[in-house]
């Protein structure tokens, strides 16, 4: 009966269970959203949700979510080039860090831009760190929660990968002087640089690349980086010496799984870690893409102990677009983020948004789901829930990858 506890059933039809939808906003018709979400309390008391877009023409959007039942767009910025995307953003205080990636290597601009958003309607550029290069597509993802360092997955002008799709690696940028960001450390998976003395890693059947993705660092262990490396798996890194990151441990599920490891979130008090895959193929061709629970009592030896149960492939695979895990709420270490080590809230593209009770880490249990209908104008033909953030008020924000924009919800469990 474990799977039976979900009254949504397994028909794959739109349904909501134990979430209350408060509002949807298509963000002025530019509702194709990426995987950057951050909440700012503006000086005038307004609560602004900053959202990254999946692709051009928009750069980022600020939404007043003071009343989550009536989210209002306060600013929406443009990218200078159509070949750019700003898929990721994070913020500390009033400083917003935005990642710029280009479609092809060698294109510009690609890099990291810092904005002062103390007046949300008027974001003001503080600085730009150029990460473009002959072998670089720039920055895909970044983490910026302490006001001092940006940890990011980025290419660089001086980096030549052993395989052209392995261009983004871990870079640590000192932004204590935000007008002059400067790299203080970097690390790549051995074998992915053309200059390495070790053999390049073997390619996976779907060959999504050996690149850095999420680069999470928490104040509980400021000397640790939890790094996912797409087809390379997950690395626990010692970054006590930022100039010289050292690998502590490595865990991967692929093969036999199909790679694309995305996010690692440690639950320090419980000696657990959440690791997500990302589904990147339509029609469930890379199924199963999962949220994994790891026992990290010994950080040098992470052990997989369970996964969050998924609805059946048959019901969702052919609804349109992707089906499988992607982003989770990351207990972002900022005052405006909700923190839980008993509930996991994750996004599953056409499988919607799902919440799991992991009180018993060996038996995660689904306790809520939100699967809206296909948003108007979506080329996928089904919702593609892409990212999620929960604020300290326990309001849940989630976004569609193509056109649905923002959904605000309450947890009801």
């Amino acid at each position: 009966m474990s799977a039976a506890s979900n009254p949504l059933g397994n028909s794959g039809e739109p349904a909501t269970w134990n979430f209350n939808l408060l509002a949807q906003n298509d963000l002025g018709g530019f509702g194709g959203m990426g995987e950057g979400m951050a909440v700012q309390i503006a000086k005038d008391g307004r609560r602004i949700l900053w959202l990254a877009h999946e692709s051009a023409p928009k750069n980022f959007t600020g939404v007043d979510v003071s009343d989550p039942r009536q989210p209002k767009v306060v600013v929406q910025t443009e990218l200078p080039q159509k070949h750019m995307r700003s898929n990721s953003l994070e913020m500390t205080g009033d400083i917003l860090a935005v990642a710029y990636q280009t479609q092809k290597v060698g294109q510009q601009p690609a890099g990291l831009e810092l904005f002062d958003v103390s007046v949300p309607e008027k974001p003001r550029s503080i600085s730009f760190l150029d990460c473009s290069g002959a072998n670089s597509r720039g920055v895909h993802q970044l983490w910026f929660c302490d006001g001092e360092y940006v940890h990011m997955a980025s290419g660089a002008p001086d980096f030549k990968p052993s395989n052209k799709i392995d261009d983004q690696f871990y870079r640590c940028i000192d932004v204590r002087n935000p007008s002059k960001p400067v790299e203080v450390g970097r690390w790549w998976m051995p074998g992915t640089s053309a200059t390495d003395n070790v053999a390049p890693p073997p390619r996976h059947p779907l060959d999504k690349g050996y690149r850095a993705h999420n680069t999470n660092v928490y104040p509980d262990r400021p000397d640790r980086l939890y790094l996912c490396y797409i087809d390379g798996g997950m690395f626990v890194m010692d970054i006590k010496d930022k100039a010289n990151p050292k690998m502590i441990s490595h865990w991967t599920n692929s093969p036999p799984y199909t790679g694309f490891m995305h996010t690692a979130v440690p639950l320090f008090d419980r000696n657990l870690m959440l690791v997500t895959d990302e589904s990147t193929e339509n029609a469930g061709k890379d199924w199963p893409k999962l949220i994994w629970l790891l026992d990290i009592r010994d950080e040098t030896h992470p052990v997989s102990i369970s996964t969050c149960p998924m609805p059946p492939l048959d019901a969702f695979a052919n609804r349109g677009g992707r089906f499988g895990a992607h982003n989770i709420h990351e207990n972002t270490p900022v005052p405006t983020s909700w923190k839980s080590d008993q509930i996991v809230i994750g996004t599953f593209f056409n499988g919607g948004l799902r919440a799991y009770d992991i009180s018993n880490a060996y038996q995660p249990k689904e306790i809520a789901a939100f699967v809206p209908g296909a948003p108007k104008g979506s080329p996928a033909g089904a919702v593609q829930i892409n990212d999620v953030f929960v604020d300290e008020r326990e309001i849940v924000y989630t976004v569609d990858r193509f056109s649905g924009g923002l959904y605000t919800l309450e947890m009801d469990f």
């Binding site: 009966m1 799977a3 039976a4 506890s5 009254p7 949504l8 059933g9 397994n10 028909s11 039809e13 349904a15 269970w17 134990n18 008090d269 419980r270 000696n271 657990l272 026992d295 009592r297 019901a315 839980s340 080590d341 008993q342 509930i343 009770d357 009180s359 018993n360 880490a361 060996y362 249990k365 306790i367 809520a368 947890m411 009801d412 469990f413």
Partner: protein, 337 residues
């Protein structure tokens, strides 16, 4: 097993919940005598937005097929239990019916549902239905009885209460009472019925419905806080009485469980329903406890008290077990603890 990965945020009873049912599917039990208007009430409810996604489980007694035919036109799924009294003969059928609903949903054979309404036979004692969710762990994990609604016929209810012990028990165990056919019965008869119902069950809200018209939320939302309903000590016919145990100081969980274990062992069949909020030593939020006869539902800690009142309040509906006996037992166990 969980001690390997304890969460400092968890309480004595695991994850703290926003509400007692947590994520489980809410169940409304609608009881009341034959012809009282249960089906009419339900049919109306199923036509409202609040009624969408409701699966109805019907127990029939005598009027084979009639109720089912009515409901099937409105509800997305109906399970017909067949002849027999749900409470004493076909309880296992209720379990099977609920499991069947779950399995058929899993196979995609029926639409999703978000709520269950169990319409009992007119002759049913609701206690065994409540027990089912405590004894069947799989069902208890999936479903949560949100409330028991008892429908009383405004015209004939007084007579029924006079001759039927089952009807009296239905009224006593209800969380909410609905008096129907008030247009036929006349004011005086209705007033007398309400007085009788109030005497049997002073906790429950009394509502009125003509032709099944009722605020649909009254069939879905239980009382958020059992402390808000006043309970006077009352002695009814059949030896059934009710009282409230109030405690200002936080209670020791050991004392509470040892007392209840003793009470359940000695007088389990006479504890018709025990339900309430406890202020337990070491817990941040209230602990919801519920017992039906000799069975205890797993306790649940809520993440917050609804207001500044921290008083424990447990409603006892018992047969020939007095408040003083229960209080004395608590005092004795506390003295020995």
């Amino acid at each position: 097993m969980n001690e390997i990965f304890p969460s400092p945020a968890a309480g004595l009873f695991g994850r703290k919940l926003k509400r007692a049912r947590g994520h489980r599917v809410p169940v409304t039990v609608v009881t009341g005598f034959l012809g009282a208007g249960k089906t009419t009430l339900l049919k109306r409810f199923l036509g409202t937005p609040e009624g969408a996604g409701t699966a109805v489980v019907i127990n029939e007694f005598g009027a084979a097929g009639i109720d089912d035919a009515l409901i099937r036109t409105s509800a997305e799924e109906t399970v017909l239990l067949g002849d027999g009294c749900l409470c004493c003969i076909t309880r296992s059928d209720l379990q099977l019916a609920l499991r069947r609903l779950v399995m058929e949903r899993e196979r995609g054979e029926i639409p999703a549902f978000r709520r269950i309404v169990i319409e009992t036979s007119g002759l049913a004692d609701p206690s065994p239905i409540l027990q089912t969710f405590a004894t069947d762990r799989a069902l208890g994990e999936t479903f949560h009885v949100e409330l028991v609604v008892t429908v009383a016929d405004g015209a004939t209810g007084l007579d029924t209460l006079a001759w039927s012990a089952e009807a009296r028990k239905q009224a006593i165990l209800a969380d909410r009472l609905v008096v129907t056919k008030t247009d036929i019965a006349g004011q005086a008869v209705c007033d007398a019925l309400c007085a009788q119902l109030r005497g049997l069950n002073s906790r429950a809200e009394i509502l009125f419905a003509v032709n099944g018209e009722l605020d649909p939320t009254r069939l879905t939302q239980g009382s958020p806080d059992t402390r808000n309903s006043f309970v006077a000590e009352a002695e009814h016919s059949d030896g059934i009485g009710s009282f409230v145990l109030l405690e200002q100081a936080p209670m020791s969980w050991t004392v509470f469980t040892r007392t209840m274990e003793t009470l359940l062992a000695l007088r389990g069949p006479d504890l018709l329903r025990v339900k309430g909020f406890l202020n337990v030593e070491g817990c941040h939020g209230p602990v919801v406890v519920q017992f039906v006869q000799h069975l205890a539902h797993p306790p649940v800690e809520l993440d917050a008290w609804p207001d500044s009142d921290r008083q424990s309040r447990v409603v006892f509906i018992t047969r020939n077990v007095s408040e003083n006996q229960v209080r004395d037992l608590f005092a004795a166990v506390r003295a020995l603890a």
